[in-house]
Amino acid sequence: METTQQTESKIIELKPFTDEMVVNMGPQHPSTHGVLRLELRLDGEVVREAIPHIGYLHRCFEKHSENLSYPQIIPFTDRMDYVAAMNQNWGFCLAVEKLMAADESKDFAIPERAEYLRVLICELNRIASHLLSFGTYGMDIGAFTPFLYAFRDRERLLLLFEKICGARLTYNYIRIGGVSEIIPMEPGSIDEQNYLDEIESFLDYFEPKIDEYNDLLTSNSIFSERTMGVAVMSAEMALSYGATGPNIRGSGVDWDLRRDEPYSIYDRFDFDVPVAKDIPELGAVVGDCWSRYKVRMDEMKESVRIVRQILAEGLPDGPVMADLKAVRPPKGEIYFRSEAPRGELGFYIVSDGTPKPVRLKGRSPCFSALSALQELSRGLMVADIIAIIGSIDIVMGEVDR
């Protein structure tokens, strides 16, 4: 009797019980581009939900700015998107200049030479930013070598920035009313000629490199398997989430502030806006990771084109700084947006006529793009999450501010 019971109790019922696994990806993770934390709910390798948690790099930029004068805020905009700091400087300065232009009594115009320098440097900075994006995306997908190639070329750009503004990453170069004169460069001097020659030699070196990178990574079949058709962001979705810049162009929306709402002197240059298209023979779908990535690769070529046009024209003579006694915008408010490498960078400034803003709000392109991650990632695999984060190209400094 006993023995039968024992044998019966030994019968094991095979009832596989599977459960969701909750995994924290980040804030310390090799490929979350900073301190992004993703709460992944996994079913094996399949992601049921990825919830981004942000705020690990929050530095109170907006509140801090209320206690600083306008020129003092510029170094802090460097620290928002530290990969494309020139463009952040410019976005802020454009907003302040627009606000100051509302005051009829103060008549100032940005000198021509400063405008040219701004476009020149910011387009080079756009190349540097997209290079970093390309490199880190390669590393996310698993290829380490493109990362170092990108850094090798970016280093040459950083040396160029270093020569004109004295810093490698946080430039504080573009100022309200012009550009910094911290390293003087006389119009028509030998210094200027050397500098422009150096840019030209960089472009000559760099343009074939883009094709090389396309050979190495873009057209690689493993890379295209990993990215094509993955995480398709439709045009409607991109618009509803407020994705901008290369992300929305990767979704097939033909929108670029430099062309559609030209600020500064962008209307004088001839450039194309690369927009993703369906490529059936390769398998690329509009809005997938590959399209977003490819738009960046094509944009580098367009930036090279713009810089070449400036080099052909040469920098105009004149001062680089408008004659501003003090930066004291009139009472009022302004929202101004510009096209940073990661998308539409907007600044909303409320001024009460004092040298300090009453309220400052930064509209970060990465933040909007990151919010689409949750919807994009549903039903994909862990490896695809990495591919999405890389393809929307976030910089956590700008997301958290």
Binding site: G142, S219, F223, I279
Partner: protein, 412 residues
């Protein structure tokens, strides 16, 4: 005399009398040097075992030096691919860097996750380490160099031993009590089990041609210069070599198949929680494995210790074997520093939809080839080389016509 020294206490090790090098060694080298009184009673079996143990000891002492060199080589090669110098600080041109790393790892804290399974956690690195070293036992390094166990089922033994590694990986992943480790180990299990099949099938083509499982027999059958190497023997072994090579990259978990330790996805995979010397064991095992699979590839397809020309020792002998092996290792590094990583489902696709059907096709083809041609027929080699040549040229022209078109969409 105690019973232990009596004849017949030890089971017979020799499979064929006179072919075992260890017995030969005892008979020809040791016994003549012994005093006459002892020599007559010297137990051959015990002597054979002792000699084998002694040579195994030499291997265990020498083989760990391989990863030491290979890790440095990997870092230097990677640095060259990326226009860097690699490690330069420790020793001249950084040559002692891996030694320094090893010393650092020995002195690091050996952390055991308190919530994990302690026994499995401690055991896992040793299983992986032991298995990857056991593979070296059957690799024929050279004609004159005795290998510790020269048995007639060499390649079968290697396949068996190397698939035990997956046990260690699963143990490591499970016992770490970390979700990343678990993901990594499960990926690894699926990957290694799947890629065993194309690996085994491509080895099978070689075995079909040679009609032996012994490593020494396989090498001996390739003695007639470069065109008798098994890779050129039939067009099917040519394809089989590449399948073998790619599958073996997957077996040793290297890019583009490094999913179990994909750094950018699951931190470090199954060895995330390991530190100190246990981590070093994983590391050493990985590089030893890499060398081992390359050596197997050379043995099976690239002539082993046989030279390029019959009768000449160019690329032959022990140095030739090592050079060829390092060539394959370099190819692995080259691929690693060029390619991105596959996704799990794509990895499986590649294996089940591409490699396995092609491998079966290879086996079929090799069988038909064996029916048509006599073994070691000069004509068969000539025809095979001609087919490979025509195939490559044809592929190149087709590529020129169809595929060279760059996958470049025109910017709008």
């Amino acid at each position: 005399m105690p019973e232990i020294f009596s004849e017949g206490f030890f089971p017979k090790i020799n499979l064929q009398e006179g072919t075992n090098w260890a017995t030969d060694f005892v008979r020809d080298v040791i016994i003549p040097r012994l005093p006459e009184a002892v020599a007559g009673h010297f137990p051959m079996e015990l002597g054979t075992v002792l000699v084998m143990l002694a040579f195994a000891g030499i291997f265990v002492a020498v083989v760990p030096l391989l990863p030491l060199v290979l890790v440095l080589a990997e870092r230097k090669v990677a640095a060259r691919f990326q226009n860097r110098t690699g490690p330069m600080r420790v020793g001249p041109w950084g040559t002692l860097q891996t030694l320094a790393d090893g010393i650092k790892l020995i002195f690091k804290e050996d952390y055991i996750p308190p919530q994990g399974d302690k026994l499995l956690f401690l055991l896992a690195p040793y299983i992986i380490f032991a298995c990857s070293f056991a593979v070296f036992a059957a690799i024929p390094f050279g004609d004159g160099i005795p290998i510790p166990s020269d048995f007639n089922i060499g390649i079968f033994y290697i396949m068996a031993i190397s698939s035990v590694i997956v046990m260690g990986v699963i143990m490591a992943g499970w016992s770490s009590n970390s979700k990343w480790s678990l993901l990594g180990s499960l990926r690894s299990a699926a990957q290694i089990v799947s890629y065993e099949i194309p690996l085994g099938l491509s080895i099978l083509t070689v075995v079909m041609l040679v009609e032996s499982l012994g490593m020494r027999d396989i090498v001996n059958s390739q003695s007639g210069g470069i065109f008798t190497w098994l890779i050129f023997r039939t067009p099917f072994t040519f394809i089989a070599f590449f399948i073998f090579f790619i599958s073996s990259i997957a077996e040793v978990n290297r890019t583009p198949f490094d999913l179990p330790e994909a750094e950018s996805e699951i931190v470090a995979g199954f060895h995330t929680e390991y530190s100190g010397m246990r981590f070093a064991l994983f590391f050493i095992a990985e590089y030893a494995n890499m060398f081992a699979v390359s050596a197997i590839g050379v043995t099976l397809f690239l002539g082993g210790w046989q030279g390029v020309l019959p009768g000449y020792d160019f690329l032959g002998g022990f140095p030739g074997f090592v050079i060829k092996t390092l060539g394959l290792v370099f190819m692995m590094m080259w691929l690693r520093w060029t390619l991105p990583r596959l996704r799990v489902d794509q990895l499986m696709n590649l294996c089940w939809k591409y490699f396995i059907p092609i491998s079966f096709f290879n086996i079929l083809g090799t069988g038909i080839w064996g029916l048509i041609f006599e073994k070691d027929d000069v004509w068969s080699i000539g025809i095979s080389c001609a087919i490979i040549y025509v195939g490559l040229i044809g592929a190149y022209t087709v590529a020129g016509r169809n595929l060279v078109r760059k996958p470049e969409p025109q910017p709008s």
